[in-house]
Protein backbone atom coordinates (compact mmCIF):
# COMPACT_ATOMS: atom_id res chain seq x y z
CA UNK A 1 0.00 0.00 0.00
CA UNK A 2 2.64 2.48 0.97
CA UNK A 3 5.15 1.75 -1.70
CA UNK A 4 5.45 0.90 -5.33
CA UNK A 5 7.87 -1.85 -6.33
CA UNK A 6 9.32 -2.72 -9.72
CA UNK A 7 11.83 -5.43 -10.61
CA UNK A 8 13.77 -5.48 -13.85
CA UNK A 9 16.48 -7.74 -15.28
CA UNK A 10 19.07 -5.79 -17.22
CA UNK A 11 21.72 -7.33 -19.47
CA UNK A 12 24.58 -5.33 -18.04
CA UNK A 13 26.91 -5.87 -15.11
CA UNK A 14 25.97 -4.24 -11.76
CA UNK A 15 28.79 -1.65 -11.96
CA UNK A 16 27.39 -0.34 -15.25
CA UNK A 17 23.82 -0.30 -13.94
CA UNK A 18 25.02 1.42 -10.78
CA UNK A 19 26.71 4.17 -12.82
CA UNK A 20 23.64 4.51 -15.03
CA UNK A 21 21.52 5.02 -11.90
CA UNK A 22 23.73 7.53 -10.14
CA UNK A 23 25.75 9.59 -12.63
CA UNK A 24 24.42 12.73 -14.33
CA UNK A 25 24.99 11.12 -17.73
CA UNK A 26 22.90 8.10 -16.73
CA UNK A 27 20.15 10.03 -14.96
CA UNK A 28 19.79 12.31 -17.99
CA UNK A 29 18.80 9.22 -19.96
CA UNK A 30 16.14 7.79 -17.74
CA UNK A 31 14.83 10.14 -15.03
CA UNK A 32 12.11 11.92 -17.05
CA UNK A 33 8.77 10.12 -16.40
CA UNK A 34 8.01 9.91 -20.12
CA UNK A 35 10.03 10.08 -23.35
CA UNK A 36 10.43 13.87 -23.13
CA UNK A 37 13.92 15.40 -23.12
CA UNK A 38 16.09 16.01 -20.08
CA UNK A 39 17.25 19.62 -20.10
CA UNK A 40 19.96 19.38 -17.49
CA UNK A 41 21.27 16.87 -14.99
CA UNK A 42 23.83 17.13 -12.21
CA UNK A 43 24.79 14.50 -9.69
CA UNK A 44 27.29 14.01 -6.91
CA UNK A 45 26.89 10.31 -6.10
CA UNK A 46 28.23 10.02 -2.56
CA UNK A 47 26.45 9.88 0.80
CA UNK A 48 25.11 13.38 1.42
CA UNK A 49 25.74 14.34 -2.21
CA UNK A 50 22.89 15.86 -4.19
CA UNK A 51 21.43 15.48 -7.65
CA UNK A 52 19.15 17.61 -9.77
CA UNK A 53 17.40 16.70 -13.00
CA UNK A 54 15.42 19.17 -15.09
CA UNK A 55 13.24 17.82 -17.87
CA UNK A 56 10.41 18.60 -20.23
CA UNK A 57 7.55 16.13 -20.38
CA UNK A 58 5.84 15.27 -23.66
CA UNK A 59 2.96 17.60 -22.69
CA UNK A 60 5.46 20.49 -22.78
CA UNK A 61 5.55 21.14 -19.02
CA UNK A 62 8.96 21.54 -17.41
CA UNK A 63 9.78 20.00 -14.06
CA UNK A 64 12.76 19.80 -11.82
CA UNK A 65 13.54 17.12 -9.34
CA UNK A 66 16.31 17.33 -6.79
CA UNK A 67 17.39 15.05 -4.04
CA UNK A 68 20.07 13.58 -1.87
CA UNK A 69 21.90 10.28 -1.80
CA UNK A 70 21.15 8.87 1.65
CA UNK A 71 22.94 5.55 1.36
CA UNK A 72 25.39 4.26 -1.20
CA UNK A 73 26.86 0.78 -1.25
CA UNK A 74 28.50 0.46 -4.63
CA UNK A 75 27.43 -1.43 -6.70
CA UNK A 76 24.69 -3.09 -4.64
CA UNK A 77 22.43 -0.49 -3.13
CA UNK A 78 21.42 3.16 -3.39
CA UNK A 79 18.87 5.03 -1.29
CA UNK A 80 17.85 8.50 -2.29
CA UNK A 81 15.30 11.08 -1.28
CA UNK A 82 13.88 13.61 -3.68
CA UNK A 83 11.49 16.49 -4.02
CA UNK A 84 9.97 18.32 -6.94
CA UNK A 85 11.49 21.77 -6.99
CA UNK A 86 11.25 24.89 -9.07
CA UNK A 87 14.49 26.90 -9.15
CA UNK A 88 15.72 25.02 -6.09
CA UNK A 89 12.58 25.81 -4.02
CA UNK A 90 10.30 22.88 -3.09
CA UNK A 91 7.02 22.87 -5.00
CA UNK A 92 5.28 21.10 -2.16
CA UNK A 93 6.10 21.63 1.45
CA UNK A 94 6.88 18.52 3.48
CA UNK A 95 6.55 16.20 0.54
CA UNK A 96 9.61 14.04 0.16
CA UNK A 97 9.78 10.74 -1.69
CA UNK A 98 12.29 8.04 -1.04
CA UNK A 99 13.60 5.50 -3.49
CA UNK A 100 15.60 2.39 -2.71
CA UNK A 101 17.47 0.69 -5.52
CA UNK A 102 18.81 -2.82 -5.00
CA UNK A 103 21.16 -4.38 -7.54
CA UNK A 104 21.75 -8.12 -7.58
CA UNK A 105 24.27 -9.93 -9.78
CA UNK A 106 22.58 -12.58 -11.94
CA UNK A 107 23.85 -14.79 -14.81
CA UNK A 108 22.53 -12.46 -17.46
CA UNK A 109 23.61 -9.23 -15.77
CA UNK A 110 21.76 -7.40 -13.02
CA UNK A 111 18.42 -7.71 -11.32
CA UNK A 112 17.33 -4.25 -10.24
CA UNK A 113 14.59 -3.75 -7.64
CA UNK A 114 13.08 -0.30 -7.19
CA UNK A 115 11.10 0.48 -4.06
CA UNK A 116 9.46 3.88 -4.23
CA UNK A 117 8.25 4.84 -0.78
CA UNK A 118 5.00 6.65 -0.15
CA UNK A 119 4.92 10.35 0.27
CA UNK A 120 5.74 11.27 3.78
CA UNK A 121 6.47 14.28 5.91
CA UNK A 122 9.01 14.66 8.66
CA UNK A 123 6.59 13.42 11.29
CA UNK A 124 6.06 10.06 9.66
CA UNK A 125 9.54 9.66 8.18
CA UNK A 126 10.65 7.67 11.20
CA UNK A 127 7.86 5.21 10.67
CA UNK A 128 8.73 4.76 7.08
CA UNK A 129 10.35 1.46 6.35
CA UNK A 130 9.09 0.02 9.63
CA UNK A 131 6.87 -2.12 7.44
CA UNK A 132 3.21 -1.62 6.83
CA UNK A 133 3.32 -5.24 5.88
CA UNK A 134 0.60 -7.71 6.66
CA UNK A 135 -2.00 -5.19 7.78
CA UNK A 136 -1.81 -3.43 4.46
CA UNK A 137 -1.83 -6.61 2.43
CA UNK A 138 -5.08 -7.43 4.14
CA UNK A 139 -6.30 -3.95 3.32
CA UNK A 140 -5.49 -4.41 -0.34
CA UNK A 141 -7.48 -7.65 -0.37
CA UNK A 142 -10.34 -5.96 1.42
CA UNK A 143 -10.23 -3.19 -1.15
CA UNK A 144 -10.33 -5.66 -4.02
CA UNK A 145 -13.34 -7.36 -2.41
CA UNK A 146 -15.14 -4.12 -1.66
CA UNK A 147 -14.69 -2.79 -5.20
CA UNK A 148 -16.57 -5.84 -6.39
CA UNK A 149 -19.35 -4.99 -3.97
CA UNK A 150 -19.34 -1.26 -4.74
CA UNK A 151 -18.09 -0.78 -8.28
CA UNK A 152 -16.81 2.74 -8.96
Amino acid sequence: MSEATCVRRIEARPSIVFDALTTAEGMACWWCPDDGPVISAASDPKVGGRFRVRFRKLDGSEHECSGEFLEIEEPRRVVMSFQWTSGGVPEERDRVSRVELHLRLIDTGTELTVIHGGLYDDASADNHGSGWGAALDRLARWLAASSRLHPV
Binding site: M1, S2, E3, A4, T5, C6, R8, I10, E11, A12, R13, I16, V17, D19, A20, L21, G26, C29, W30, W31, P33, D34, D35, H63, W84, E91, E92, D94, R95, G109, T110, L112, V114, H116, G118, L119, Y120, D121, A123, S124, N127, H128, S130, W132, A134, A135, L136, R138, L139, A140, R141, W142, L143, S146, S147, H150, V152
Partner: protein
Amino acid sequence: MVNDTSQSLNRLFSALGDPTRRSIVARLARDSALSVSELAAPFEIKLPAVMKHLDILEDVGLIRRAKHGRTVTVELSPRPLRTAVDWMQRCERVWEGRLDRLARFAEKKERRLQERNE
Protein backbone atom coordinates in the same frame (compact mmCIF):
# COMPACT_ATOMS: atom_id res chain seq x y z
CA MET B 1 2.55 18.92 -9.60
CA VAL B 2 0.84 20.28 -6.52
CA ASN B 3 -2.57 18.74 -6.10
CA ASP B 4 -5.12 17.63 -3.56
CA THR B 5 -4.39 13.97 -4.19
CA SER B 6 -0.82 14.21 -2.96
CA GLN B 7 -1.95 16.17 0.10
CA SER B 8 -4.54 13.57 1.01
CA LEU B 9 -2.09 10.74 0.35
CA ASN B 10 0.39 12.43 2.63
CA ARG B 11 -2.22 12.58 5.39
CA LEU B 12 -3.34 9.02 4.72
CA PHE B 13 0.18 7.57 4.92
CA SER B 14 0.87 9.69 7.96
CA ALA B 15 -2.30 8.37 9.65
CA LEU B 16 -1.19 4.82 8.84
CA GLY B 17 2.28 5.51 10.25
CA ASP B 18 1.11 4.48 13.72
CA PRO B 19 1.05 0.77 14.65
CA THR B 20 -2.14 1.00 16.75
CA ARG B 21 -3.99 2.68 13.90
CA ARG B 22 -2.67 0.13 11.41
CA SER B 23 -3.88 -2.62 13.68
CA ILE B 24 -7.34 -1.00 13.95
CA VAL B 25 -7.55 -0.71 10.18
CA ALA B 26 -6.39 -4.30 9.67
CA ARG B 27 -9.05 -5.62 12.07
CA LEU B 28 -11.74 -3.62 10.30
CA ALA B 29 -10.52 -5.06 7.00
CA ARG B 30 -11.02 -8.54 8.43
CA ASP B 31 -14.19 -8.16 10.48
CA SER B 32 -15.96 -5.29 8.64
CA ALA B 33 -18.08 -3.37 11.18
CA LEU B 34 -17.06 -3.46 14.84
CA SER B 35 -18.26 -1.54 17.86
CA VAL B 36 -15.85 0.87 19.52
CA SER B 37 -15.55 -1.36 22.60
CA GLU B 38 -14.85 -4.44 20.45
CA LEU B 39 -12.16 -2.45 18.67
CA ALA B 40 -10.64 -1.23 21.92
CA ALA B 41 -10.65 -4.65 23.64
CA PRO B 42 -7.25 -6.00 22.45
CA PHE B 43 -5.35 -2.80 23.26
CA GLU B 44 -3.83 -1.94 26.60
CA ILE B 45 -4.60 1.72 26.07
CA LYS B 46 -7.73 3.34 27.49
CA LEU B 47 -10.90 4.01 25.54
CA PRO B 48 -10.27 7.78 25.15
CA ALA B 49 -6.91 7.00 23.53
CA VAL B 50 -8.60 4.60 21.13
CA MET B 51 -11.16 7.31 20.36
CA LYS B 52 -8.33 9.69 19.50
CA HIS B 53 -6.92 7.17 17.03
CA LEU B 54 -10.39 6.76 15.53
CA ASP B 55 -10.65 10.57 15.16
CA ILE B 56 -7.42 10.62 13.15
CA LEU B 57 -8.56 7.73 10.94
CA GLU B 58 -11.92 9.43 10.43
CA ASP B 59 -10.24 12.74 9.52
CA VAL B 60 -8.44 11.13 6.60
CA GLY B 61 -11.65 9.36 5.58
CA LEU B 62 -10.41 5.84 6.26
CA ILE B 63 -13.25 4.93 8.61
CA ARG B 64 -16.87 5.83 9.16
CA ARG B 65 -18.69 5.80 12.49
CA ALA B 66 -22.41 5.09 12.73
CA LYS B 67 -24.64 5.13 15.79
CA HIS B 68 -27.07 2.26 16.26
CA GLY B 69 -29.04 2.96 19.42
CA ARG B 70 -26.41 3.16 22.15
CA THR B 71 -23.70 1.40 20.16
CA VAL B 72 -21.27 3.16 17.84
CA THR B 73 -19.99 0.90 15.07
CA VAL B 74 -16.94 1.60 13.00
CA GLU B 75 -16.31 0.47 9.44
CA LEU B 76 -13.70 1.08 6.75
CA SER B 77 -14.31 3.50 3.95
CA PRO B 78 -12.69 2.49 0.67
CA ARG B 79 -12.15 5.79 -1.12
CA PRO B 80 -8.80 6.93 0.37
CA LEU B 81 -7.45 3.42 -0.08
CA ARG B 82 -8.44 3.49 -3.69
CA THR B 83 -6.57 6.80 -4.06
CA ALA B 84 -3.50 5.16 -2.56
CA VAL B 85 -3.74 2.14 -4.85
CA ASP B 86 -4.16 4.47 -7.85
CA TRP B 87 -1.05 6.37 -6.76
CA MET B 88 0.92 3.14 -6.52
CA GLN B 89 -0.19 2.02 -9.95
CA ARG B 90 0.69 5.40 -11.48
CA CYS B 91 4.04 5.29 -9.75
CA GLU B 92 4.77 1.79 -11.04
CA ARG B 93 3.91 2.86 -14.60
CA VAL B 94 6.37 5.76 -14.33
CA TRP B 95 9.09 3.42 -13.09
CA GLU B 96 8.41 0.86 -15.82
CA GLY B 97 9.09 3.61 -18.40
CA ARG B 98 12.21 4.74 -16.54
CA LEU B 99 13.50 1.18 -16.31
CA ASP B 100 12.99 0.70 -20.08
CA ARG B 101 15.22 3.72 -20.73
CA LEU B 102 17.71 2.77 -18.03
CA ALA B 103 18.02 -0.78 -19.42
CA ARG B 104 18.60 0.51 -22.96
CA PHE B 105 21.31 2.88 -21.68
CA ALA B 106 23.10 0.30 -19.52
CA GLU B 107 22.87 -2.50 -22.10
CA LYS B 108 24.43 -0.26 -24.75
CA LYS B 109 27.30 0.52 -22.35
CA GLU B 110 27.73 -3.20 -21.62
CA ARG B 111 27.89 -4.08 -25.33
CA ARG B 112 30.46 -1.33 -25.96
CA LEU B 113 32.60 -2.55 -23.10
CA GLN B 114 32.49 -6.13 -24.38
CA GLU B 115 33.36 -5.03 -27.93
CA ARG B 116 36.37 -3.11 -26.63
CA ASN B 117 37.56 -6.18 -24.74
CA GLU B 118 37.24 -8.54 -27.71
